[in-house]
Each structure stands twice: as C-alpha cells, then as structure tokens.
Assembly symmetry: C2
Homo-oligomer: 249 residues x 2
Amino acid sequence: MNDVRRAPLTPVELEQALRQIGAERYHNLHPFHRLLHGGKLNRGQVQAWALNRYYYQSRIPAKDASLLARLPTADLRRAWRSRLEDHDGTAPGTGGVERWLRLAQGLGLERAYVLSTDGLLPGTRFAVDAYVHFVSERSVLEAVASSLTELFSPNIIAERVSGMLSNYAFVTPEMLAYFTPRLTQAPRDSDFALAYVQEHAVTREQQEAVLAALRFKCDVLWAQLDALHFAYVEPGYIPPGAFVPAGGI
Amino acid sequence: MNDVRRAPLTPVELEQALRQIGAERYHNLHPFHRLLHGGKLNRGQVQAWALNRYYYQSRIPAKDASLLARLPTADLRRAWRSRLEDHDGTAPGTGGVERWLRLAQGLGLERAYVLSTDGLLPGTRFAVDAYVHFVSERSVLEAVASSLTELFSPNIIAERVSGMLSNYAFVTPEMLAYFTPRLTQAPRDSDFALAYVQEHAVTREQQEAVLAALRFKCDVLWAQLDALHFAYVEPGYIPPGAFVPAGGI
C-alpha cells in the first residue's frame, strides 16, 4: 500500500482510493454512532458526546488558521477563509462553534463548563490536538487532504439529525441547528479540497501521503468515539477528572 | 484548586500535593493493570500491551532531548542527559528502548513490525505525541514536572515483575530486563526532578502549573490503558488497521 515506486494514480483512481478509505474507516462505522443515532443512549451519554465533540469543533478554526497562514495565494486563502467564517461566524452569537455550544446547552450542560473543557476526556483532547498539530506540521498537501473526511459527512449528518429527532424526546430541531448549514458547507469544502489534491498530488509519493493523511484523520475521529464509548457506554470506566453525568450512565 | 491568588505552598506541601495526584490518578489504579499483573490476560493481550507501550518508550528520548535543548546550564543538561543514556544505551544493542524491543520479541512479535508502529492504536499515538508536544511547548518547569510520574513507578514495577513472572508461563525474567534498572533509575530521576520543581516553583501560579503538568502526564498514561482496554479487553473493538492478535482476544 505504501510502495511509492509504483505508477502514479490517475485523478479518478486517487478519488476512488480516498473513497475506499472512507468506506473502511470513517466513524459512521463506529458502534457509538449506531447507538447515538438509534436512540440507544440516555441523556447523560448524549451530553458526554456533545461536551467532548465541542472540543473538536472549537479547535477547527485553529487548524484552519494554521493552514491558511501557509497557503501561497489570495485565491487559495480566500477559499479556505470561508471555513473560518462558517465556524466563527460573522457577528457575535453566530457560527458553527456557537451553534454547537447551544446544542450542549440544550442538552442541559452549563455553557461555562463546556467552554472550560474541564470535563473533557483526555482521549478527546489528545486526538483533537493531534489533528491541529498534524495540520500545522505537515505539508500543505497533507493538511488539505486531512480535511477530506468531509467527503463522507453529509450522509452521517442526515442520518444523525433524523435519528436523534425521532429517538430522543430531549432533542429539538433548534438544538440541531449546527448540522443544517453543514449539509451545504461540507460538500463545497470537500469538492475544493478534492480538486486541490487531485491537482497537486501527482507523484505516487505525494498520493500515498494524501491517502495516509486521510487515514490519519479517520483515526482522529474514530479515537474520539473509542474514548466516549469506553468511558460512557461499555465498560463505562470514566477517567479521573472527566465529566460524570448527573444521572450516572 | 486553580486559584493562583492563594498563598504559595511550602516545598513539603508541594510534594504532598504532587503525591496526592499520584494517589488519585496514577495508572496503577487502572483496571487494565490489575488484569495484566494478575495474570488475567492472554498472550495476545500482553502482546498488544507491549506493542503499544513500545511507542511510548521509543518517544521518551525525543521528549528528553527537546527538554535538554532548553536547559540553561551544563549541570542541568548533564543530569538530564543520563535519561538519554538510560534509554538509548551506550552502545548498539543496549539501553531501555532495546530492552523493551526484546520484551516484545520475547512475547512473539516481529521486531520489524514493532519498529514500524503500523499496528499501533491511534489512541496510543495521540497520547504519546501529546506528551512529546507538551514537553517541547511548555515551560521548562512544566516539562520537568511532567516527568514526576516516576515518583510512583517503583511500586508498579515491582508489582508488575513479580505478578507477570508468577502468572504467565510465556514470560521469563530475561524478557523483563527492562524493568530492573528502572528500579534505581526512576528514583534517581524523580529525586532530581522533585528537587528542581521545589526550588523553581515558588509562586502559587508556578506551583499550580506544576500540579497541572503532573495531572496531564497521569492522563497520558491513563489514556494509553483506556485505549488498550477498549480494543483488547472489553468490549474488544479493535480500531481499523490496528494489531490483531494471531489467536484473537
């Protein structure tokens, strides 16, 4: 799989290889998501998910800014800047990070507690920080490629919204407002990133680096669900200092 | 706990606060260690532990070198350099990293496979890399403090060696050669690091940073066992691409 001496892939073959990674490693396959979407979690477990996932959301602008700082042209920077606008908004109280905070608050978590990240699982922090470090330390090509999990997100979002609304009485459409704009933002962003890697990954070595970056990013998402599942579902060993739901798990 | 406006602790109180963190958060308390030391794991599970823990061992010289590079005096650098000598040895085939490789090989793993880190749990990689980043990015005081889990390691090592030898027919004293020198190295190193933080953490703010660094390091060790336990014990969900023991789990 990592034999960089083989012939380069065509752009179409590269896309197929990327989509194959998603089919094998994207976190929609994780058992935690089946439980979340299928209504099998209690409110405390959904709180734990929202609390931990908040840290991921909150660091996305940091990773995008560190990449933006290294993009060489105004055209590229302008395209990438739209991600910052999506997440940080155009005015106080707008943007994806704020909408995620409202989801957490709608689930009954204190806003200040979520912002503090005091109750975060260490496994969440380490996985998310690994992503931010990856984007700031690897090549621009690998950094762009690591965003390509968005190729696979519209399906999971549609499944999540319908599943959570139909299965949890404590979830309202307003609480899930984060996800609606993502259904159009994610395809716009992943179309751009896919075209970028298809244009710039021309040697087999570059293409293998792109594929490895997407596998890495799938690991980042998967490990967050591993940590959640272990602490809050089975066997249910919450690490010292992490969030303990008021009603237990 | 984080009120930096309170009066500074005395050196004795600081040591007590550090030891209290160990009593609450050191990974000897993790259920995986009870299983490992009590003979409750099969050979494949012990292989998974050795394989993943190898990555931690292999990165210790990187974190020590990044700290060494920032120490201001020859006295400090010479003292810290002994850690590099312990881990990387004084000649090919010596040192702690090599001894850990021999433990992994003694358990039946291929040396090249261990070195490749191909089968590593992403949770292991993210936790270990978080430690290396912490030491290279935080203050020298925090970096030194994060080594203080060694205050607690002699007890766990003694328990591990006796427990593994008496409970696993596939473990020999030669395979556990890594641990014997650690029984004298760890106290020497932790005595030095404790004296350093007692001398240099004089304000309450510095002391709180020291305590937070030790909590962070406990999280790094704990999260590695969480990932192992989740993948290889219960519920036993091995992430895509990670090591699968030949005989199952």
